[in-house]
Symmetry: C2
Subunit: 349 residues, 2 copies
């Protein structure tokens, strides 16, 4: 537990002043410090295993190279962690560190968490949520460069840039995949009303039908929820005791867990997937969609890309000067990606 070497230690060992050490180690040695002094300094630094104290740097420079990430429950919940992963990729590659705080969905903690982060001199702030949702922007976020990932400001005049997935196109392309297999009666288990993602995916579902000239029935769309049991019971309602002619030939789900429930129901009813019924997931949840039997065809949420895009925007405004901030567009939409596996196939006739 011995103390770390300081710049002064290096200076002494190299027989020079602290300022010389600072100059050399920051690449401003040439033209200011004699070559041989430079060598001695670098040598001494290496020997002492010197690295500058980040705290002192922050205090001096008023910049910490730390980005604060505030999440509603990304750390604690099983979902969307890759947004932070992607954000961290970019941050590290540009010499920043991310400091993550999770409020576990207690928005009352937002303000104080932001305050803590601000007290630590973070250079920028990112708010990340599990699932697309509108948020109330905590006061403090407007005081330094900030960005929203997977969430957005509902106010008429949004003040922060946000990065979100393109759910409408996602819903549309998922539906189109099913239409291309010849399905003409596609049910949709659409999540729950309190999520803004649900209606967007429904919108995409409608668009796909309209574009393809295939009529669709509103009663085929269910606001079911997001979990296995919801998928199970939704599918039972659609399939159990219904004659093959009246059954949907495909069920599209607003996430992979619903799809698991649907598959379970199909199995109980003796229906084979995808021969008798095609099942489409959404999210491409790791170790669920890819390990289901059969593996789920699904619409992958671009989590890493969202994180990367959000962090890139943020660091650009931090490093690029404040000049054109106002002129920037306030929204980035990242496309979802269709992942075709084995749970979808040609429509039975």
């Amino acid at each position: 537990m011995n103390r770390k070497a300081t710049a002064l230690d290096v200076a002494k060992r190299a027989g020079v002043s602290r300022s010389a050490v600072s100059l050399v180690l920051n690449g401003r040695g040439d033209g200011n410090v004699a070559k041989e002094s430079q060598d001695r300094i670098r040598q001494a630094a290496k020997e002492l295993n010197y690295s500058p104290n980040a705290i002192a740097l922050s205090l001096r420079n008023q910049r910490s190279r730390v980005i604060g990430i505030l999440s509603d429950e990304v750390v604690v919940s099983p979902f969307d962690g890759n947004i932070i992963g992607g954000a961290d990729d970019i941050a590290r590659s540009r010499g920043f560190v991310t400091l993550v705080m999770d409020t576990e969905r207690d928005t009352a903690r937002d303000a104080s968490a932001i305050e803590t982060l601000l007290d630590r001199q973070v250079d920028g702030l990112m708010y990340v949520t599990v699932g697309l949702k509108p948020i109330e922007i905590p006061q403090g976020m407007l005081r330094i460069p900030s960005v929203l990932a997977n969430c957005y400001d509902e106010h008429p005049q949004p003040q922060l840039h946000h990065v979100i997935p393109d759910e409408i196109t996602g819903g549309r392309e998922a539906t189109e995949h099913l239409l291309q297999w010849g399905h003409r009666d596609i049910a949709l288990l659409a999540g729950s009303v309190d999520s803004p993602a649900a209606p967007l995916r429904v919108q995409g579902y409608r668009d796909a039908h309209a574009l393809a000239g295939v009529p669709f029935r509103d009663e085929r769309v269910f606001m079911a929820g997001w979990d296995i049991d919801a998928g199970y019971h939704g599918a039972m309602k659609l399939l159990d005791g219904v004659s093959p002619a009246d059954r949907p030939t495909a069920i599209m789900c607003a996430n992979d867990r619903l799809a698991v429930g649907v598959a379970l129901a199909a199995a109980r009813l003796g229906l084979s997937v995808p021969r008798d019924l095609s099942i489409m997931g959404y999210d491409d949840e790791a170790r669920i969609a890819d390990t289901m039997v059969p593996a789920l065809t699904t619409m992958a949420l671009p989590l890493r890309e969202i994180g990367r895009a959000a962090m890139t925007t943020l660091l650009d405004t931090i490093e690029g000067g404040e000049g054109t901030t106002a002129a920037r567009t306030m929204e980035t939409m990242v496309p979802c990606r269709l992942v075709v596996r084995e749970s979808t196939g040609p429509a039975p006739h």
Copy 2:
């Protein structure tokens, strides 16, 4: 984006010196500063919305009240986030902040992550993993108070305290639950060999049989893996085309995802759960075990408790002085908790 108030601003406004401000706001005013000055200072601080700059504090005090948490993939993966949640609970309640870094399973990044954390003057370090596993302790962790959560040092003379779940008892109690329902032929899908948790749970399974005087057969134990497909195929091997007399009446799984696969297989085979087959999970994964149909009986991993216990130990050594460090026990085992739901029931006869 206007600058924050400093202690000097407060001092000016209250018409006193900076030192007075410092004394009063740190509760050392009485006996040093006049009562009315104290009031004016507190008043001014409130008006300016003053809070001390954490960076300056760290530099000055050589303590940051930040705990660095290094995880292999807790943030990014869907698992075990609640360890961090529990750790954060305790940290916050004791006036600390946690700084989380996730290496995404790249142990080559461990050392530099620790270095970064150390440069930021963290007062303590916690290493957290997804799933119980042995780790190589990164050098830097020995330089300041540190603790391991859900992982441990394999070396003969462990240098760091670790907190882990009691997997043997967990495996035993899960098995006992099944034995109590009258099951006498219990198969075990035991995860994979590369996880130290798997053999421990098998051990518990054996212990339960031995204690109950029920013979068991080694060929009923399969190192299957951890995912849905593994559970599915494992169950198929055990059940498909096997006469009821030769079938296990219960399948115990090393996690809930395996249990989902087993349930899926049972459904395909027309077996009713729990009437024809009892299924036992492990982990009590949120929104999987509780939302399965039927809901899974499972052995809950004490994730929050692990995080809380680890953070408590760590903060105790940081705040409690170094005195008795050496005398402390180096291991804390946290019991798992049986959660009875609907996937288990009396053995058929």
